[in-house]
Symmetry: C2
C-alpha cells in the first residue's frame, strides 16, 4: 500500500527544476523505502506561466518546456490562474515548495505565498531566506495553528542540514555563537583576486560566468551574508535579528595590495560572519578577516561554505559544505519533505 | 506534571563522571523545557564497587567518593551485587548508560552488559565503540524485539552528532564514502614530531601527559582509527565491517625527515581514514598522508577530529569537532537519552 502525496511548486528556476529532477531520480527509492509516491499537481513560474493537473504533471515534459523557454500552460488540465496567490488556492496539494527569488528587504512575495499555502492547509518547504528573516515568528505560529509544518533547510548553506542539526542531533544543547563563511560569491571574488585580478575585474569576470549579479552589491557589500547571519540567529539562537542589525563590512575595501600582503604571510582574506550572545544581547558581524592555514576557514574554497558553532556542551562543531549547487539546495527541500512526513 | 526517569550507570571513569556532572548541570533545564526529571538509581565502577539506591543516588557524593578513590558502597540502600551483570539485573531503571573501557577485539564485556539491560527492558546508551563494531546487528535486533532503543552517538567523534546526522537531517540520502581524521592521539603525536620530537620521544612525552597508553599500539598502529572506520561503515553504510578488514598502516614509519620534508613544502602528515563503496564492496583504509593547507584536514589540530562525507545528494559534507573531552562525550550520551524520549 503506497501513499501518494501531491506537491505544488511555486517557482521553477534552477532550484525548482533541480528539485523536479531529484523527485524523478528518487521516485523508486521513495516507493521501496518509505512506501510513498508523489505527484506534482501544479507548477507556477515567474515568466513561463503555470500549469495545474490534479492527476500529476509530467515532470519530464515540464523540464523540457522550461529548458526550451516555452510556457508550461499546455500541461494544464484545469483552468490555471496566472496569479501565484490564486494558483496556490486552486492547486490541489498537501505540500507547497517555494523557490521564488529572495527579496532581502521584505521577504515578499514569498511570505504571502507561504501564508496562503498554510491557510489552505498545506505544509510548506522553502529554500528562500527572505521569509525566514522577515516572517519566521509569524509563519511558525501560523503553521502551528494550522497543524502543519514550515521548514526551510535550504535557506542557509544549501543542502547542508544546519537547521535539522539543531533539532534531533543537538537536542538539549544551547547555541552560544558561531562564525563562518556563508557567502560563496565573495569567496570566489577573493579567490580571483588572489590569482591577480582587481575587485572590479573579478566582479566583471564573475558576471560572465554567472556568479555575480548585475548589481553586485547584495554580495559584495555583505548583505547576503548578513541575511544568512540574521536567519541563523533568528532560528537557532531564538532571537529575532534583522540584516540591518548586523555590523556589516563588505569586501570593497580589499585591495590587491592587501591580498598580496596576506599571501606573503601565508594567509588569505575571507569574508567572515560571526554572531555571539554577550550579556544577553546578540552581537553579529560580517567583515573581511585574514585567516591562517591553522584556521578551518582557510581551506574553504570556491563556492563551499563553512560554519562553526559554539555550544554550551560542545566547544566547537564545524560544518563544511563542499561544492554546492542547485542539486544540493534541492536535496535540502527533499529532506524537509521527508522530515515532515516523519518517515524515520 | 514532571515524569521521572531512572538511570543506571555502568562504568564511572572520566566519561561516566562527566555524564553525572552534566546531569546535575542540566537538571533544571530538563524540568523547565521537557517536564522531566532523572534519578540515577545505580552506579557500578570498575574498581570502586557499586551502589544501588532506588530513590536516587546523591551524585555529588558519588563524584566526591570517586575522586577520593573511595568505594561507592556506602551510598547503597539495598544489597548491591558486585558483578556487573547481576547489578544490571537488580538495578531498577529504565535506562542503562554503558561507559566501560573499549575492548577492541571482542567488544566484551560491554556487549553482555547491553544484552542484559535490553533483556531487562531498559533502553541502552553507550559511548563504547566495541559493541558497535562487534555487536551492532544483534543488539539492534534485540532492542527492536524488546521495543527499546540502543544508541551510541559518542562511540565515534565524541559528542559530534555523527550518527544522529544520518537519521533526520540526512534522511533519504545515501552515503557513498568518507574520509577524515578520527584518532586524536596520533594527531597529537604527529604535531609533537612537527615540533622536533622523534616518534619515540613523542610517545614517551604523551605518556607523561596521559594521552598515550602504556601500550601505544592501539593508537600508533592505527587500530583505534580502524575500529572507528569499521563502526561508521557498519552503521552508516549498512555493511558489517571488522577492523581487521581495514587496510591499516599506522604512523611508525613516519620519520623526522619525512615530517621536515612535508613542512618544507608547506604540508603536514596526518593519519587519514577513508572508506568508499567500489563495485558494491567497501574499500576501507587507514594510512598516513601528506595534506596541504587547501585540505580541510590540514587545520585539524590537537585532539580535534574531522570527517567528510560524500553522499549521492551532497558532494561533500564535513564535520569538525574541536577540542573534545569527557564533557563532549557525556553530551553525546545525554543527546541519545533525550532522543530516545523523543522530547522534540
Amino acid at each position: 500500500m503506497t501513499t501518494n502525496y501531491r506537491l505544488c511548486l511555486v517557482g521553477f528556476g534552477n532550484v525548482g527544476k533541480a528539485f523536479a529532477r531529484l523527485l524523478m531520480k528518487k521516485g523508486s527509492e521513495l516507493a521501496e523505502r518509505y512506501n510513498l509516491s508523489i505527484s506534482v499537481t501544479g507548477i507556477i513560474t515567474g515568466s513561463h506561466g503555470g500549469a495545474i493537473n490534479p492527476d500529476g504533471i509530467d515532470l519530464k515534459k515540464a523540464l523540457s518546456l522550461a529548458s526550451d523557454g516555452k510556457s508550461l500552460e499546455s500541461l494544464s488540465t484545469i483552468d490555471t490562474p496566472n496569479d501565484a496567490i490564486d494558483f496556490i488556492k486552486t492547486c490541489p496539494a498537501e505540500f507547497m515548495f517555494e523557490t521564488t527569488p529572495v527579496n532581502p528587504q521584505s521577504g515578499q512575495p514569498a511570505i504571502q505565498h507561504i501564508r496562503t499555502a498554510l491557510d489552505s492547509g498545506m505544509h510548506v518547504v522553502t529554500a528562500n531566506k527572505g521569509p525566514v528573516v522577515h516572517g519566521y515568528g509569524e509563519l511558525v505560529a501560523l503553521a502551528k495553528q494550522q497543524g502543519r509544518r514550515f521548514l526551510f533547510e535550504s535557506a542557509v548553506m544549501d543542502g547542508a542540514p544546519i537547521f535539522a542539526l539543531f533539532r534531533e542531533p543537538l537536542v538539549g544543547a544551547n547555541l552560544l555563537g558561531f562564525h563562518g563563511i556563508l557567502n560563496s560569491c565573495t569567496n570566489l571574488l577573493l579567490e580571483m583576486m588572489e590569482q591577480g585580478k582587481s575587485l572590479e575585474e573579478a566582479i566583471a569576470f564573475g558576471k560572465t560566468i554567472g556568479i555575480t549579479e548585475t548589481d553586485p552589491s547584495n554580495d559584495v557589500d555583505g548583505w547576503d551574508a548578513a541575511i544568512k547571519v540574521a536567519a541563523l540567529v533568528t532560528v537557532l539562537m531564538n532571537t529575532p535579528l534583522t540584516p540591518q542589525e548586523v555590523d556589516r563590512t563588505g569586501i570593497r575595501g580589499i585591495t590587491p595590495e592587501m591580498i598580496r600582503s596576506a599571501q606573503a604571510d601565508g594567509q588569505r582574506w575571507k569574508l567572515v560572519c560571526t554572531a555571539k550572545r554577550v550579556d544577553g544581547r546578540i552581537q553579529a558581524k560580517v567583515a573581511p578577516e585574514r585567516v591562517s592555514p591553522q584556521s578551518p576557514l582557510y581551506s574553504v574554497n570556491g563556492t563551499s561554505s563553512y560554519c562553526q558553532f559554539e555550544l554550551d556542551v560542545l566547544p566547537g562543531l564545524g560544518i563544511l559544505e563542499s561544492d554546492p549547487g542547485p542539486e544540493t539546495t534541492a536535496y535540502g527541500m527533499f529532506a524537509d519533505f521527508l522530515n515532515i512526513l516523519e518517515v524515520i
